[in-house]
Subunit: 230 residues, 2 copies
DNA sequence: GCCGATATGTTATGATTCTAACAAGATTTG
DNA sequence: CAAATCTTGTTAGAATCATAACATATCGGC
């Protein structure tokens, strides 16, 4: 058995198991741990190796799943999104912000009528594109892994040419004195452009965000028509 | 600082970094490693912990299942993409077109260096965003489910402001007389804008496309520096 | 303030992982 | 066939990780 074959078997095995311990891999391949180490070192584009465990390459940067339970304050966010979705009418053109809260709205949006969803968040786009009877407009640009969003001048210009009936914004903090703030500065221009263009603007947050302050300020409290929490 | 806050900060940090060493996490949070261990143990649904390293939960399950077999001329496309990827150098800025062929290139691109990938195809973006050390620029706009792409004026204007060293285009047909054609008219403006801006342009197709004609014409054969097939 | 309960830090010990160096076997090449 | 090269295995010491036990600190009633 040659190195190439071992690498292939490792790859296959990883697709099933997800992670593999060095010692398991060694016995599975019938070679010493040292050989597996050397195999791994020779193919860093295929595998990641962390403290004795083998992973498929790139899984460190996996998309953040929004599985119902795999998130802090999950039930609160779910509830807030259900309430927010009730405000959407079948023929609206709505903006949905990034984060772990507002993307959940996609599950509760009305299916009748011709809804149009505008977003700059990948996790929102991925969900909306699978819906029937729904237009999706994604504001593109440079991708930021930290927030799963895009940023760029052209996106701002696009917003100015769109009609937005209702905007659903998210925030990392909402403070009575210091308004709405978020963690990433690149989100600020888009949020502000949307706020300026939207007919009605809502802030959708779970109550744990109240009275918190994050580094990037983007709006005062009175710029929102309503704040929706659980 | 309470446990809940530490967990949130860990989550944020992981979104950026992907993995985090126990000792880094401890110093980042200003607590002992033992406390971080205990925090992790109390929230196994949020994090995976392997040999001293913290990962987002579920990242072992990287489901990069390719539609590889569920596609015609699959091996031919795969081969063409491998050949095309060999033309890419570590610090290039490349454009990758839509379809079922060119998105496979993402698997073979070099991992060293700081690659930048420009695209208007959702299936390309979804793959590139999971790669480390890679910038992703998505040309946004209105989503077309038929080709999994976006279209819009702002995207065209974005292309004019980008420097593209190599462009990898796809086509539904390449005819000796009638040039390169595709099935969707909304792809034409982007393809043409990219052709006009790219340093080198390649057409990546499997040989079954040769001498075929599709409804939307977008380029003559001599506009490409090379045609890459299996 | 006092108390119990919970949270956090420290230490020590054993297990595991990492790395380098060398030896033995397999493969290529002239 | 023999030398050179590449591959693999073994060993040992250093570094790191895991776990438990205990000490200290903090918090929330009463």
């Amino acid at each position: 058995m040659k190195k190439a074959e071992r690498l292939e078997r490792l790859e296959d095995r990883l697709k099933d198991a997800g992670v593999l311990h060095l010692s398991d891999a060694a016995s599975h391949l019938g070679v010493s741990e040292m050989t597996v180490r050397r195999d791994l070192a020779s193919a860093p584009h295929l595998f990641s190796y962390l403290g004795g465990y083998i992973l498929p390459a790139g899984s460190e940067r996996s998309t953040y799943r929004l599985d119902a339970e795999a998130d802090t304050h999950s039930e609160a966010k779910e509830l807030a999104c259900q309430k927010a979705s009730r405000l959407v009418e079948p023929d609206d053109t709505i903006f949905i912000d990034c984060g772990t809260t507002t993307p959940r709205m996609t599950e509760y949006l009305p299916l009748s009528g011709k809804l149009t969803v505008i977003t700059y968040a990948m996790n929102v786009a991925e969900r909306v594109m699978k819906r029937p009877n729904t237009n999706l407009i994604l504001l593109g640009g440079l991708f930021h892994a930290s927030s799963q969003t895009f940023s760029g001048d052209e996106a701002l210009r696009s917003v100015e040419r769109l009609g937005i009936s209702k905007a659903f914004l998210s925030a990392g903090g909402l403070h009575s004195q210091h308004g709405a703030t978020c963690s990433n500065f690149h989100e600020v221009p888009i949020k502000q452009a949307v706020l300026a263009r939207a007919g009605l603007s809502y802030l959708v947050i779970d109550s744990s965000k109240l009275e918190k302050i994050k580094p990037a300020f983007f709006a005062t409290t009175d710029q929102f028509d309503d704040v929706i929490t659980e």
